[in-house]
Assembly symmetry: C2
Homo-oligomer: 163 residues x 2
DNA sequence: TATTGTTATACTCTATAACTATA
DNA sequence: TATAGTTATAGAGTATAACAATA
């Protein structure tokens, strides 16, 4: 169960055994564990969302825009840790699909508030269920209590850049 | 401290306040928290490793190759969750820099064993220290006990694809 | 002057498929 | 037939810099 002492095998090619030693240095580095986990989770979530025409990125934007406080593009960029220039094409695509609208903020006409349409909110709800199912599969190795711990700890780390 | 109730600000532009509601749905999704954390950690680690001419990817390959059980390229791909074709250019670059060698496995001449040179091992040791320092900064929001919990839980999730 | 959104560009990473040489 | 490594290519993601409109 513990990667340090477990033999590690390539899931696709069971003949490929990776010895204990491989699972040493890197497997204690959070950055590596995070990268590996995020890669698996993103692949899984992208596959789950594909039938809806969404990807993890566009789903994230749609999800925030579907909340009770529609964000500006700048806020989306900060929250999703993307460059503001990347938000442009994400919102473009969602807008073309009729899932969100850009609304000029009357109090500051430089800012676009991104608000989900009814159609967007409906799709977001369906997407959230698919994402949750993918997450259940990704986290199947964890006890319920561990899952709660993981979320609590990751929230601290994920937002450590904001005081 | 808790992102659900905290106001979230853009670190670069303190005037940008993101309301509570933004921090709701997504911030309970492990895939999102993982992606945000991994993005921050990768950026930090890449910056830390840049003076050595390494990036997180090449460092990961070098680190495994520096261990006591040098891997095949296939094993590297499985362990790092990369496609075997991506390993080729990573190893090419490291080999050109004299940090690793491809050694033909005598028992199966299809496989290249990737073994770090002495120079590669020395650089890997320096890189590991820089990576550890970057990790300390990334995880500064955690108590020591939380850090240990995080590693234990992430290891389970990160290797759930291997039974 | 500073900030929001936008465009443009170059680079890195991801995903597939096909090829070769060995088994 | 099947596997290890390689090549090629297209698409997605990352990082910067510059610009127009607005504050």
């Amino acid at each position: 169960m513990n990667p340090t002492i477990a033999e590690i095998r390539d899931a696709d090619h069971p003949g490929t055994v990776i010895g204990d030693a491989l699972a040493n240095t890197l497997s204690n580095e959070v950055a590596f564990l995070n990268a590996r986990t995020a890669a698996l989770a993103a692949r899984s979530a992208n596959a789950a969302l594909a039938p809806l025409g969404l990807r993890v990125r566009s789903y994230a934007v749609l999800s925030v825009a579907s909340g009770s406080t529609p964000p500006s593009q700048r806020q989306l960029a900060a929250y999703l840790q993307l460059d503001p220039s990347q938000i442009v094409s994400l919102v473009d695509d969602l807008e073309k699909s009729g899932l969100v609208r850009r609304e000029l903020d009357p109090s500051d006409r430089r800012v676009n508030v991104i608000v989900a349409t009814d159609q967007g909110k409906a799709l977001c709800a369906r997407a959230a269920r698919l994402a949750a199912a993918a997450e259940d599969r990704s986290l199947r190795a964890l006890e319920p209590a561990e899952r709660i711990q993981l979320i609590a700890i990751l929230r601290k780390v994920a937002f450590a850049d904001l005081e």
